[in-house]
């Protein structure tokens, strides 16, 4: 799934490891989500959205909308 996670992370000046620690996941997970190779579960998507103070749809692009 396309997403704006990398951009948001960069705006906060966080490395993948920084974000991984804040989300309590591995750096590999952050990398896989950022590159669209892995779609997070709904609880993890909420956690990401809450961390950045956004709605889920502000970060993740609906597959039906490209």
């Amino acid at each position: 799934m396309n997403n704006h996670l990398r951009t948001l992370r960069a705006e906060h000046g966080w490395s993948q490891q920084d974000l991984a620690e804040r989300l309590d996941v591995s750096r590999q997970s952050v990398n896989a989500i950022e590159t669209g190779r892995y779609d997070p579960s709904l609880p993890l998507a909420f956690k990401i959205a809450e961390l950045f103070g956004c709605a889920i749809e502000d970060i993740f692009v609906s597959p039906s909308r490209g």
Partner: protein
Amino acid sequence: MLCSSSAARRYQRRVIILAVVYTALLFSAVYLLNRHLVTGVVAYIVGILPALPVVGFFGAIGMYLTEERDEYLRMLLVRQSLVATGLAMTGATLWGFLEGFDLLPHLVGYAWPILWFGGLGLGACVNHVLERNPA
């Protein structure tokens, strides 16, 4: 395994312990049974003892899957296990038919768990290829 989460470290520790126990029990069983030092029910017990750590390996994988909090790492191991299962079941099916038609010799049943563990290696390769970052 995939990465050094605390669950992965516990898994690795369990696997090392099981491997040591397996080696000790296997050598003991071979020694006792080849020399007919045990018979009857005791022989059955001694014969099955080396199998238990192997069963433990499956248990260790199951425990890792329940303990790992990182869903992406869990997904990787599930995929790895599916590849291993597909390989082992395919191997068992093909060999079984060919053996049934007397085209291949009899193969002991514990060959299939061994192939399954080999399949985990193949699954790791599949993960490596699929999870490579796009250039």
